[in-house]
Symmetry: C2
Subunit: 308 residues, 2 copies
């Protein structure tokens, strides 16, 4: 891409898609000095967050100078002299020197389907706990394979490198004559767009609605370090818990440096099946360079617990 | 302290004690341009780590220019014109313009003892799960109060701000007529000495030996971000697990920026009572700016699992 941009002296870049790839490409184009626009069909970027948290990411992008066209659909391209010249949406035409499409992932399972291997969620290959497909002796792992969601307790499709690695380890052990199982995922993902860190785990409101699970949610603002410590930045944490029982259902984080990996505490708590009440007394690390005395994740759990 | 140092033009600082306060003060003196020596009775600084991990912190201090006197005991002070002029150890005399003592914490419970309130570990005030003392209607919380260790399942004394805050919340709710319990701690602590981040949770080898718990341990070296990502730094993680069962017993981390708060994953796993095998498939956040695909904490758990 570097050569393409240098040669063409590209000035205007358009990214279609507000997911992980779209955001990372938007950052890459900004860093190269392009004027960047991003088009997405969703009300906010990062559709894997709830809209209120996605809005914070949209705002961070606008602050970086990205022009957002939300709730717009790409309908076509414009070309000139055999090269891309712009995109057309259901609302406007925009000129562009480079267009990047980050439109999501579909498992490439045509071969498996033709071989009669049973498919599952979103056309991914159905596997058992050992990553064996419905055809004995045939194994699958990675972006083509189905996972199991440990919070919804249902089959789930997610195409992420960590999941592929863990599935691959299990499939490999079993293929080699050993015994290993892959229990499933909780849907954790993190990304960074310039200085803004974004993280999510578990189920979001849209998923809970579909599953018929009733929930409470709390959003809190805190700081990444002790308030008085140099370099402390803002962090917003949302925690979702099952109404009544208080079982943790998911969490989302948007904030400055030091925010994203805090999602691991929520992810581990989801694996453990903790309630938000059980999270209040988690013995997490505190020192002024790293956190307020009450870690923002725990502060969010406390806020959610009050709403049960 | 600022005024004291400016007025005295202090050049040589001596810190006695290799714990959290000692290390933080050593950093403060270095940042002010003093020549710093640190004296501790232990074989390495940070006695709350195992010696192999403490050694990494000792090395980090030496790299910063701190002269370490390990396995030495302070026996006296030297003064001149009514001011401090140096310290005497069992091995040498060292001149100094400022001496800082970070000798640890003892609970100040003389009043409680005189009132007939039963004391516990290290003279701290014994409390029940609601933070009520042995005298009905009298409550205790904070550095004077005993905790319960969730890994050893025994009474435990630890004087940290996070624990004091959590205990205070529980005592306050109960005093106000509500109902709350404090389940206990897992012994998490983090600190930073210039660029080196240090973290620990659970039980260390010395504690396990005393408790008669058999363990395996694994130490792995990894990177704080994807290896190819700018700014990736070294991280060393040690994980201790119960021999046979694989139950996680503790963990220690020493590394560059982005290392310390990873202890929260281990701390949450300790609260959950996870085995290292259960930790292998934890769905932790991955993106190149934050972590290798296999989080260092999980890599350490995998290494420990192979030794069970």
């Amino acid at each position: 891409m570097r050569r393409l941009l240098d040669e063409n002296k590209a000035k205007r870049g358009i990214v279609v898609g507000g997911g992980y790839i779209g955001l990372e490409m938007a950052e890459a184009l900004i860093r190269r000095g392009l004027e960047v626009s991003l088009i997405t069909r969703s009300p906010e970027v990062m559709g894997t967050l709830d809209d209120d948290m996605g809005h914070l990411v949209s705002e961070a992008l606008r602050k970086l100078g990205v022009t957002l066209y939300l709730e717009e659909t790409l309908t076509g391209f414009e070309t000139a002299k055999g090269k891309i010249a712009g995109v057309v949406t259901d609302k406007r035409s925009l000129s562009a020197d480079i267009v990047i499409l980050g439109l999501g992932v579909k498992p490439n399972t045509a071969l498996a389907k033709a071989a009669g291997i049973p498919l599952g969620e979103k056309g991914s290959i159905r596997v058992n706990g050992r990553m064996e497909t419905g055809l004995s002796g045939i194994w699958a792992a990675g972006d083509c394979a189905e996972s199991f969601h440990l919070v919804s307790r249902k089959p789930f499709y997610i195409a992420l490198g960590t999941v592929a690695n863990r599935q691959g380890r299990v499939a490999g052990i079993n293929l080699g004559g050993g015994y290993a199982t892959f229990p499933g995922v909780v849907g954790t993902a993190v990304t960074k767009i310039c200085e803004a860190e974004v993280a999510r785990t578990g189920l979001q409101e849209g998923e809970l609605r579909k599953l018929g699970i009733e929930w409470v949610s709390a959003v809190i603002k805190s700081r990444t370090k002790a308030g008085y410590f140099p370099g402390a930045g803002d962090i917003t944490v949302k925690v979702l818990a099952e109404k009544g029982s208080g079982r943790l259902l998911g969490g989302q984080i948007v904030g400055a440096e030091g925010s994203a990996k805090r999602i691991d505490t929520l992810a581990t708590a989801l694996h453990a099946g903790f309630t938000v009440e059980e999270m209040i007394n988690l013995d997490l690390g505190y020192a002024p360079p790293f956190s307020p005395v009450w870690d923002p994740v725990v502060t969010a759990a406390r806020a959610a617990e009050k709403l049960l």
